[in-house]
């Protein structure tokens, strides 16, 4: 075969450092072949090896009484009773989505769905957390419209409902958007499939779509910063085919029923290389691959290209040989490729053959689970200064200002986005996007209702406030977890576990590494206190363009359980004369608030601190009054404070309210972003019992007013019509995208 000479330039082009190359020489025992260099690069890049983050990820709480499988598998597995589990994960596709928004987003969705069904789960819900640059930046509209169309294009065709997500604009994402896709699927607890190969001499089978040259080197690209030459990287973006993914889902689940699967792994980043190495390394086995047997859709592909291709909709399986005929028939039926391409060995070597030649022969453990791990130097983020309420500028009419805020890019309705997603497919959506959390009814695997006394539901939310994380990584990390947990609690669901998608800049810069370490510590503290373990996740580093890093963005995706889905609580006001109550008391934390950012262009001060004990007791209280059927509406208070939360409740119901802030300064009480707070409404007859329960639970509950009229009225402060709020809320997104 024709091989490139291994030059220092070629090594650098593979993102391999001098120290790493010295280690590669030692482990290979000679100069690597070109194909081997590609394999080392694919396995040791940041995206696949987590070499900068592993040390810190190990500190996260990952166990709990409901955790069946934590990090290390394709997705986390959590017990939801009755012999069922929810399997979920979130993963980024940031770099490809900036280069080619539509395909970058589609393949992000496709990849995360495969992670879930590789384990034997049928996907029942997806979410996505999207972050784009300043609305006025020339690329933002193009990136946003392409990403949204791509997310919808893949998920809609595949047939899974989108139940929630986030969309945020900020100049730090001008050159580096974030596309974080979450997927969750259901599987019976005794029918979960893992990636660890078992037994020597077992056939290794290639499943799904054919291999092409698309995506060659994608994972290496995702581990580098962007500069002005990014347009040249377009060929490393893969192309998604949702119909093939749908067939692969059905074929895989059918295959699993035959008993043919010994181990299975989807081909994601670094395709054939990563999936084969992972299955072998985890099982302490060697792998022998014959590339002449790999189904290809292009002529004259080299071993290097085949090993590094990121063609989509592919799987690798270790087969129980007794079931080969049955397994093959399933894939024939779904018109997908099924090819035995190798076998497991007892050598602990990763051996690859092409056209009769051995093109790679490497130690599999060093490629896989014993890849390098770095303790990168990090600098603690300097402490931010709390801004005293007295130093906050006063707005003349804070109630009228609510309309402006409701119509601002970051607070306006996301309807333009989520109406492009199928939110109803599968027929189990109780609450789609636009609520505090999405809620889905649980059916069994055949799609029929389980014969249980009540129907279970699952709640899903994804959250992070990157401004907070930048100002104070530790509190910001805590807040991301707390807000996700709170949003789930606001539906009445018990938060069970979470997945994290950690998006940061270049970890080789100590101040960025400091943001990462701070956020991880905060996430860990909150997950521990709230009994909300991290069961899966993904790290995306090097989110920088020309040396400018994104805001630290550790998105947290959480799942909660409702034993009776019919009790799920929602945001809109329900009945006039219902009493409006503030749970958690008035606030005065204005640092990093939407108020300061939007009206005064100041991203300043320390973010609201998170009192985890208070968060827990207030959330537990909220869940109990929901499940006791004592309240009629509930909304958590987050960015934009009490004022924006009340406006949301008005706009979603078309009903107004009259509230009294007592002696509080209106601009502070309305816009402070103190945590652990909710607004609830109840029938006047329930006020006594709701407040009594709060007293017993040690929770501060303040009656604010009543649901009434067609205006949002703050007594003695100001009034604005619900219609005006609604128009402002709905207008910005469609008119911006049409611009």
């Amino acid at each position: 075969m024709t091989d490139f000479e291994i030059t220092p330039q070629l090594i650098a082009d593979h993102g391999i450092t001098d120290e790493e190359y010295a280690r590669i020489l030692e482990l290979t025992g000679r100069e690597p072949t070109y194909t081997e260099l590609g394999i080392w690069s694919a396995m040791w890049n940041e995206h696949c090896s987590y070499k900068s983050s592993k040390k810190w990820l190990k500190t996260l709480p990952t166990t709990g009484k409901r955790v069946v499988h934590g990090p290390g598998e394709n997705a986390g597995v959590v017990d939801i009773d009755d012999g069922e589990t929810i399997i979920f994960k979130m993963e980024s596709h940031n770099h490809p989505s900036y280069i080619e928004p539509y395909q970058g987003a589609t393949t992000g969705v496709g990849g995360i769905l495969r992670d879930v069904f590789t384990m034997g789960a049928r996907p029942i819900a997806v979410m996505n957390a999207l972050r784009f640059g300043d609305p006025d930046h020339p690329k933002t509209r193009h990136v946003a419209s392409g990403v949204v169309a791509g997310v919808g294009g893949y998920g809609n065709s595949f047939g899974v409902p989108t139940v929630g997500g986030e969309v945020e604009f900020h100049p730090s994402y001008n050159g580096n958007c974030l596309v974080n896709a979450f997927a969750a699927g259901l599987a019976d607890i005794d029918k979960i499939f893992l990636s660890e190969a078992k037994g020597v001499g077992m056939p290794i089978v290639y499943l799904g779509a054919k291999t092409g040259r698309d995506g060659v080197g994608g994972a290496t690209m995702a581990s580098a910063e962007f500069d002005d030459s990014i347009e040249e990287k377009r060929p490393t973006v893969q192309v998604g085919d949702p119909f093939t993914e749908k067939r692969l889902l059905e074929a895989t689940l059918e295959l699993m029923k035959t008993g043919a699967v010994n181990a299975i792994q989807d081909m994601g980043a670094a395709g054939l290389t990563c999936s084969a190495v992972e299955m072998g390394a985890k099982g302490n086995l060697g792998v022998h691959l014959d590339l002449d047997l790999v189904p290809v859709r292009e002529d004259n592909m080299t071993a290097y290209e085949m090993m590094l291709s990121e063609s989509q909709e592919r799987m690798l399986m270790v087969l129980n040989p007794a079931k080969q005929a049955e397994a093959e028939a399933v894939f024939k039926k779904w018109e997908l490729d099924f090819a035995v391409v190798g076998h497991t060995t007892d050598t602990l070597r990763f051996e690859v053959f092409h056209k009769g030649e051995k093109v790679a022969d490497l130690p599999i453990k060093d490629l896989g689970d014993e890849a390098p791990e770095y303790d990168r130097p990090w600098l603690e983020t300097p402490a931010s200064i709390r801004i005293k309420p007295a130093d906050i500028p006063v707005l003349q009419n804070p109630v009228e200002a609510l309309a402006e805020l409701m119509g601002s890019p970051n607070q306006c309705s996301r309807r333009w986005v989520y109406e492009q997603y199928d939110t109803l497919i599968q027929g189990n959506t109780k609450q789609g996007p636009g609520g505090d959390a999405g809620v889905i009814r649980v059916l069994d695997e055949t799609g029929r209702r389980k014969h249980l006394p009540t129907q279970k539901g699952l709640a899903f939310s994804v959250d992070v406030t990157p401004r907070y994380c930048k100002a104070d990584p530790f509190e910001g990390g805590k807040q991301a977890v707390a807000e996700c947990w709170r949003n789930i609690s606001a539906t009445g669901a018990l938060p069970l576990a979470a997945t994290d998608n950690l998006n940061f800049g270049n970890p080789e810069r100590p101040e960025i590494m400091g943001q990462f370490v701070g956020c991880i510590k905060g996430i860990g503290a909150a997950c521990k206190a709230l009994e909300f373990p991290i069961v899966s996740g993904n790290v995306s580093l090097y989110n920088e363009t020309n040396g400018e890093a994104i805001l630290p963005t550790p998105a947290i995706g959480g799942v909660g359980l409702l034993t009776d889905v019919s009790l799920a609580m929602t945001i809109p006001f329900k009945n006039r004369n219902d009493v409006v109550l503030l749970v958690g008391g008035h606030g005065n934390e204005m640092g990093q608030s939407v108020y300061l950012q939007h009206f005064f262009d100041r991203e300043e001060g320390s973010p609201p601190p998170v009192d985890l004990a208070k968060e827990k007791s207030n959330g537990d209280y909220i869940r109990s009054i929901i499940l006791n059927r004592q309240i009629n509406a509930c909304h958590d208070i987050s960015q934009g404070g009490l004022g924006l939360a009340l406006a949301d409740m008005c706009v979603s119901s078309g009903k107004g309210c009259v509230v009294d802030l007592g002696d509080e300064d209106a601009h502070i009480a309305l816009f402070a972003e103190d945590q652990a707070r909710y607004i609830v409404t109840c029938h006047p007859d329930q006020v006594q019992s709701v407040t009594d329960m709060a007293t017993t639970a040690g929770v501060n509950v303040i009656p604010l007013g009543t649901v009434a009229g067609d205006t949002l009225k703050v007594t003695g402060v100001g009034t604005i019509s619900v219609a005006q709020l609604k128009n402002a809320h709905e207008e910005w997104f469609p008119s911006y995208m049409a611009g």
């Binding site: 294009g153 047939g159 119909f243 989520y418 059916l443």
Partner: protein, 213 residues
Amino acid sequence: MATALEMVSGVKPVMVWHQETEIPDVDLIAIPGGFSYGDYLRAGAIAARSPVMSSLRDKAAAGVNILGVCNGFQILTEAGLLPGALMRNAGLHFICREVHLRVENTNSYFTRSWAKNAVIRCPIAHHDGNYFTDPDTLKKLEDQDRVAFRYVNENGNVNDTSNPNGSRNNIAGILNDRGNILGMMPHPENLIESLHGGTDGLGLFKSMLENVA
């Protein structure tokens, strides 16, 4: 759709594979929504040429009732079993939202349980639901009372703002001349229980069940 049919009728529907050539004797053939063959080429175009379609044509000719929802409607027009075509939505985006429909024809197998001109809520979820046909066919559909559903506002009025996708005459669903085939873009099966926030879609299933033993 299969889950909805089972829930409403208590009978599990028989599933038919696209490569089968013989559809069994049944009361109703439902072609559900989805993205058959990925909707590559055109929505419904490849499915309309799949092996099972010749048996479907025989059944249609024999008067068996056929319901096509969303992609099912697209397949039926592509197969020529219903007139017209479903083009890309006027706004060029996929749309998933709840709309209002007016039930125009209440004599058919599919719609007879509703009151004439009833206004119902119903979700839509499609990229290609912009119903188009030539003026003569459109006139024929209107004159022969073959428009089953029309997009309206909540007061039952037909206008441009209540038309989500640009369909001619706000058409959301049509019948064939014999009345045994209904194609519609909206998804009544996704509004049939309290979980969905309403039961307006049940009318379709009640209509179809009226004569089933």
